[in-house]
């Protein structure tokens, strides 16, 4: 049993000048063979491993990560968590995740700082109003706590928004999900890694997958920079690099990997205590616990694996921010970065088996995968362990691109997250 984290363990360790803390997770060399290997040590991959061990008793498993865990989109995202999606399938998936978030710190004994500060989506034209009301009604009937706010209620909930009706695209109202919010992204990866490792999962960093070995329509193992690893089940959770891994296995996915940028301001005292998103004016903002304004918007339109997008996206995003929050004009951008997001044609993810036995993909989360991390891990673990999807991820299969049964969430995801 590892150190249990608590105020008492902090006090105890303070007496020994914090010299006696244990490793949160180890740094092993890969074994020759595992029962299952997860490719990708981001939040989703680590959560998958955690639930495989915890709920399905698969502990002879490994997570292989080409860099450092949580270093991809997990460590680069703006951490919005909500479940107010339109379609039943999506609402089921994301609310499943949200319910896990609500107890995740306790479950992992790692404070992921899940902050239910509410997420508000603004409407700026009449079709926005129709779409958001439609979503709110659907949410209510699906048991999701979304409410419609009129403009004055929007202003009351977040007073710094410019709700003047004279601006280019005035705020005509919005929806609010109070259970929604943000979490500390690094802590999610680290908490799952620690939890999984404690149950025996090997977390192997700096281990890049170079090939997938197939025997006919079955997988046999992985070629990695740390040698060949034999396994009958491979769960790929490689986000922007999903297609790269798929190509190794000789399959194609309906994905395009595009740059998504975000930025933070210098830290300031609390000024906005919720998350506000706008589709039509195309930007969103929240404030981190450090005080930085966390800002993001949409992707570039082209495929790129460079982890950097074009400046005009940043300019447009801040333009939108200043339209809605003219008080932020003198705030300063402290840091700006990019990630690679893998986008599906219907803006919904894939959590699915493939035509190759033992090869599973969890990808296509586009700009909004962080919020699903615990649910995605849980359902992917179920899919891998049983070789069958859970009913909550059944709709997110690969076959939908053949049958046409898409889960079109463009309305929900038109702006990143």
């Amino acid at each position: 049993m590892k150190n249990k984290y608590s105020i008492f363990s902090l006090i105890k360790n303070a007496f020994s000048d914090h010299e006696n803390w244990q490793q949160a997770w180890g740094d092993p060399e890969p074994k020759k063979e595992y029962d299952a290997v997860i490719v990708g040590g981001g939040g989703h991959g680590l959560a998958t491993a955690y639930y495989l061990a915890k709920k399905h008793n698969l502990t002879n498993i490994a997570v292989v990560e080409k860099g450092w865990i949580g270093g991809g989109n997990t460590g680069r995202n703006t951490t919005i968590i909500r479940s107010n999606y339109l379609w039943d399938a999506s609402a089921g998936l994301y609310d499943h995740a949200l319910k896990i978030w609500e107890n995740l710190s306790q479950e992992l004994n790692y404070n992921v700082m899940f902050s239910q500060r509410g997420v508000m989506n603004l409407a700026h034209n009449l079709q926005d109003v129709r779409d958001l009301k439609r979503r709110t009604h659907a949410n209510r009937l699906n048991g999701i706590d979304a409410v419609w706010l009129e403009t004055d209620e929007v202003k009351k909930f977040c007073p710094i928004i410019n709700t003047s009706q004279d601006i280019r695209y005035p705020v005509l109202g919005g929806t609010l999900q109070r259970r929604a919010g943000t979490a500390r992204h690094d802590a999610v990866a680290w908490g799952y890694a620690r939890g999984a490792n404690e149950m025996g999962v090997d977390i192997i960093q700096n281990c890049e997958v170079k090939g997938i070995k197939r025997n006919g329509d079955k997988v046999e193992g992985l070629e990695t920079t740390k040698g060949f690893i034999k396994t009958k089940k491979i769960g790929v959770v490689a986000a922007g690099h999903s297609s790269v891994i798929a190509n190794m296995a000789g399959i194609k996915l309906p994905l395009e990997s595009k740059p998504l940028q975000a930025l933070v301001s210098e830290p300031v005292k609390p000024i906005i205590d919720t998350v506000v998103m706008s589709n039509a004016v195309h930007a969103y903002v929240s404030q981190s616990d450090k005080g930085e304004l966390v800002i993001g918007a949409g992707t570039d339109s082209y495929v790129s694996y460079t982890q950097r997008g074009s400046h005009n996206i940043v300019e447009d995003t801040l333009k939108a921010i200043l339209e809605l929050y003219p008080i932020f004009s003198r705030m300063k951008m402290l840091r700006q970065w990019g990630g690679i997001v893998d986008i599906c044609p219907d803006a919904s993810p894939i959590i699915s088996k493939t035509n190759i036995k033992g090869l599973y993909f969890n990808c296509g989360w586009g700009t909004g995968g962080f919020k699903a991390t615990p649910g995605s891990g849980d359902l992917f673990a179920h899919t891998i362990a049983n070789d069958e999807p859970h009913k909550l991820n059944a709709a997110f299969n690969l076959n939908r691109f053949v049958s046409g049964d898409l889960v079109d969430e463009h309305g929900a995801a038109a702006v990143a997250h």
Binding site: A138, K319, I327, M333, R335, D405
Partner: protein, 1000 residues
């Protein structure tokens, strides 16, 4: 002024006193001072409190790397600015600055309690606690954590200042106006290359410009004198632009750089008025020369953060550039020769100082010079502690063991009022790495230097790891000649004499007798991360530098780790027993220094936020009190309230008038695409679901366009103007996308087709006159036009003239009424409209907006793409199978209509809904169920359009419902928040199913 202003320098204008306030107290400095130099001249060191422990902090540097001395500027709600570095801000009359992150004040700060409990709050403590009891998180722990956020305060009112952008192209951009930058710019510009030199400071010259030591001479003059002459020379070169107070913020690929020019921040409050505050330069340069120099690094030892502890070279700059002494009894603690220059400068001004040097000896010329001047030097010694709460008052030294791992001998305590530290120099490789460049580790100097990447960029001078004058000049000249493919001989005979550093000794974490766990050896000063935090992270299994950085928050403060990154890496390498350079570095992300949002956005704020498209009739709508709706970028009249009417009343009146007599709609915003070519008909066949070949000239036809996925994408009426000439209309919001899509198919899939597309949306204004009296009105306007139903039937068009101006009149209808659309060149749109209004006056012609238009078409069951469809509806789902040609071999999206999901019978389908209570109007977006008792509730669909029809005197709605096609007459429920509304599924056409009104 105080006696800390020790001498005159040419950079400080002592004839111009500038008064300013700091924390409410009046001070003055001189023109040329930064806030930091002026405060130091007034003996003020304590400037703020650190983020986590609220420890007192003072000015530490003289530039953009400053971690501590950051202030709130101004207390005006609109002009206030947080986190401004006192070391960069030039003072001006009326400046008011405040310390941050402290309460009630900087001298006595309640938050200082955090320093006392610091053993309980090591790196990452918040991940380990605040979890029990769970209910405390939301109400107690989280608010507490969030309360402690931030440093300064955001403005709370809109910014009155304006910002600007400028786009420039240069042959050569030189970043940094120090010694190597000036040489580079001069060589480039004299080689006939259009050159831009930028420097973030007010004056050029970098750190050489105040170097006046006999050990550093160029052409037998002090290096500063020589450089002054060079600077004077470059000001004469014609194709060289020099921009000072201009800092490169970001270096993107393809030599695209952003620079922020500061225009008014240094001006007095009255001079700032009505001027552009900052300008963002967007630079494309064929070649970029990076000459950003290096910054001095601190040394890491216990309590290395007190006010009064500065970087050694900053003390030198304050002295020789600003004329300010940072103390009167100064200790310099160093591991390299550069502190000796500071010592000698201080000595020359009569300021008491001594040197503590980690190294066992220094044989260089400058060290000898210091020794000869009688400056006391403690070689092989280390500072192990400092004392003094609000300002340093003494230090403790010990001797170093031979291997440097421990301290030996007795403690020596020395009094001082200022401690200068120098841990060597770090090349500023930010620009290089931002542009995608990689780094090499140079072991001699323990620095990362740029690995050259391509032919379009080069780093020279100290940022390339070249530190001594001779190497800088030599290598810069050579490299620039090769880089620019020129042969400049200007510096061939330049004679350089400079002291060369021979001994080096670098220890990332200095040894101490006190266990590390009980020390505070700061690495990141602003974020309060210490050496023991780094070690804790490593102990807990964080190995990657990015992990350690994130776990300890090292390098994540407003200085973005300029002072801390190297030490963090060094300590990780030492602890893990690996070589520096194998760990990599953290990524330097743009911007180089924080960049104001307003500057990034420039002029595109307020009314310039985004283009507003208005029709040529817009002014008439405004004059007639229309309310407007945003549709895409267009402003469309939404409704025209009369005498205080509500929207509902106005829409009821407009709708009724349109059916009873006559209405008029500005339809100019609909997309219009002119299609010509011998294959135009074939093209339409492939684009639309229905057939076009047989459409006669002069006739109009409605078309439905799918995307390749089989879902409805756009719709509109297309008119055949001539054999090979069509005019297509699209939805207002979809126009640009439709044109783009059509061009895509035409150019890439069907280049063999002879078809040309031109957007003519803006070329024509369209007035749509409808209602039983519309024919009479049109007849009044166009008396020569034969409106006879046989000659000019529904779905046909005619060319005609209005006062000699060509017009196209289409007899088409989106309301179900007899209706004519008149297209005229845009500039005549308003006069056409007014003619219609005048002609219609006797028939009570009523202008109506989009809301009434939506209502009228809903009465007829016509869809609006984007409202009744959402990208998931096929033509069959819309009960529009009639428009899908069975005969055509192919059209866009056809194949997708036969997939297993698209042929399902139980897809959501468009239906009409009638409320049981005809007065009850459904909410658009409301969900539809058949049973409210199932769990979860099974949602069958939703209401897409809903209105109260004045013509039918009841509420009507369109909706999409699962299997709706076969549900006519069935009862369904709309479960609202507070009640259930009962509805019956109906036909989608509510009025005039026989289309009699079209020919009324």
């Amino acid at each position: 002024m105080s006696d800390l202003r020790v001498h005159k320098t040419k950079y400080i204008n002592e004839t111009k006193r500038v008064s300013f306030k700091y924390d409410g107290k009046n001070y003055f400095g001189y023109e040329g001072d930064t806030l930091a130099s002026a405060l130091l001249a007034n003996g003020v060191h304590l400037i703020g409190r650190s983020f986590k422990y609220h420890r007192p902090r003072g000015i530490m540097t003289c530039g953009s790397e400053e971690p501590n001395a950051i202030c709130q500027i101004s207390d005006k709600n609109d002009l206030t600015e947080p986190n401004v570095r006192a070391t960069e801000l030039e003072i001006y009359d009326g400046l008011e600055a405040f310390s941050q992150n402290c309460w009630p004040n900087v001298k006595f700060d309640i938050g200082g309690i955090n320093n006392l409990i610091s053993p309980l709050i090591p790196a990452g403590f918040y991940y380990k606690t605040f979890m029990w009891p769970k209910s405390f998180w939301k109400k107690i722990y989280e608010p507490l954590i969030r309360m402690s956020a931030g440093l300064g305060k955001s403005p709370t009112e809109p910014d009155p200042d304006i910002y600007d952008h400028k786009y420039v192209h240069y042959d050569v951009l030189v970043i940094g106006g120090g010694l190597s930058g000036i040489i580079s710019a001069k060589i480039a510009a004299k080689s006939n290359l259009k050159t831009l030199l930028v420097d973030d400071k007010k004056t050029l010259g970098g750190s050489t410009i105040y170097q006046s030591n006999d050990s550093f001479k160029i052409d037998d003059q002090h290096s500063s004198k020589w450089l002054e002459k060079e600077i004077n020379e470059i000001s004469e070169i014609e194709n060289l632009t020099v921009k000072t107070r201009t800092s490169i913020a970001a270096y993107h690929g393809y030599n695209y750089l952003l620079a922020r020019e500061n225009l008014t921040d240094h001006l007095s409050i009255k001079d700032k008025k009505d001027k552009i505050r900052q300008r963002l330069w967007k630079i494309r340069a064929k070649k970029v020369i990076v000459a950003t120099g290096s910054i001095e690094r601190p040394l890491v030892f216990n309590n290395n953060d007190r006010p009064g502890i500065l970087l050694s070279n900053s003390i030198n700059k304050y002295l020789d550039y600003y004329g300010v002494a940072c103390g009167t009894n100064i200790i310099l603690f160093t591991n390299n020769d550069s502190a000796y220059e500071t010592a000698i400068s201080l000595h020359k001004k009569g300021i008491k100082n001594l040197i503590v040097d980690l190294r066992k000896n220094s044989q260089s010329e400058i060290a000898k010079q210091a020794q000869n001047l009688g400056i006391k030097i403690y070689f092989n010694h280390v500072v192990t502690n400092t004392f003094g709460y609000r300002k340093i008052n003494s230090v403790e030294l010990m001797e170093l063991s031979d291997d440097g791992n421990t301290t030996i001998g007795n403690k020596i305590k020395l009094n001082c009022d200022c401690l200068g530290i120098s841990g060597g120099w770090t090349p500023m490789v930010h620009m290089h790495t931002q542009s995608g460049g990689k780094l090499d580790f140079k072991n001699d100097d323990q620095v990362f230097i740029p690995k050259e990447i391509d032919n379009d960029q080069i780093s020279v001078g100290a940022c390339n790891g070249d530190f001594d004058l001779e190497t800088i000049i030599d290598k810069t000249v050579n490299k620039i000649n090769i880089f620019l493919e020129i042969n400049n001989q200007d510096y061939k005979n330049t004679k350089v004499g400079c002291s060369i550093e021979k001994e080096k000794r670098n220890i990332w974490l200095l040894p101490n007798k006190i266990p590390l766990g009980k020390t505070k050896c700061f690495i990141d000063f602003q974020n309060d991360s210490t050496a023991k935090d780094i070690k804790l992270a490593l102990k807990e299994g964080f190995r990657s530098i990015e992990h350690v950085k994130r776990y300890t928050t090292t390098g994540m403060a407003t200085d973005q780790g300029k002072l801390s990154n190297m030490h963090a890496l060094g300590i990780i390498a030492d602890t893990a027993g690996v070589k520096m350079g194998t760990l990599g570095t953290t990524t330097f992300r743009p911007p180089f220094t924080p960049l104001t949002f307003g500057t990034i956005v420039g002029r595109n704020v307020g009314k310039f936020f985004e283009v507003v498209r208005k029709t040529s009739i817009h002014d008439w709508h405004v004059d007639n009190k229309a309310k407007f709706e945003n549709v895409g970028q267009w402003k469309r009249p939404w409704y025209y309230p009369k005498n205080g009417e509500t929207m509902h009343d106005a829409v009821q009146r407009e709708s009724k008038a349109a059916r009873d007599s006559a209405g008029i709609l500005d339809a100019s915003t609909l997309g219009k695409i002119d299609i010509q070519g011998t294959d135009a008909s074939e093209f339409l066949n492939r684009i639309y679901t229905n057939a076009w070949s047989k459409l006669s000239i002069g006739k109009c036809r409605y078309g439905l366009m799918l995307n390749e996925d089989g879902m409805v994408y756009d719709d509109g009426v297309t008119t055949r103007l001539a054999e090979n000439h069509y005019l297509m209309t699209t939805t207002t919001g979809g126009a640009a996308n439709v044109l783009g899509k059509l061009e895509d198919y035409l150019q890439t899939e069907w280049p063999e087709l002879d078809v040309y597309l031109t957007s003519v949306t803006d070329h024509y204004s369209t007035a749509s006159v409808c209602g039983p009296n519309s024919k009479k009105i049109i007849n009044k306007i166009f008396p020569e036009l034969d409106l006879n139903d046989e000659d000019f039937p529904h779905m046909s068009f005619k060319n005609t003239k209005l006062d000699n101006i060509n017009c196209r009149v289409m007899r088409i209808s989106f309301t179900g009424e007899l209706s004519y659309e008149i297209n005229i060149e845009s500039k005549y749109g308003k006069s056409l409209w007014e003619k219609c209004i005048n002609a219609g006056q006797e028939f009570n012609i009523t202008p109506y907006g989009t809301e009434t238009m939506h209502l009228l078409r809903a009465e007829k069951g016509f869809i609006i793409v984007g409202q009744d469809t959402d990208g998931t509806m096929t033509p069959s789902d819309l009960q529009m199978d009639w428009i899908v040609s069975k005969k055509k071999y192919d059209f866009i999206g056809k194949r997708s209509l036969y997939r297993s999901d698209t042929i399902r019978e139980d897809r959501k389908q468009l239906v009409g809904l009638l409320t049981d209570d005809p007065k009850e109007i459904l909410e658009e977006g409301a969900q539809i169920v058949s049973d409210t008792n199932t769990k979860p509730i099974d949602m069958l669909g939703h209401v897409t359009s809903s209105y109260f029809s004045p013509n039918l005197n009841k509420s009507i709605a369109l909706a999409v419902v699962r299997s709706g096609k076969n549900m006519k007459g069935q009862k369904l429920i709309i479960p609202m928040k507070n009640k259930n509304i009962n509805v019956t599924v109906s036909d989608t056409i509510f009025l005039d199913k026989e289309n009699k009104r079209l020919n009324a």
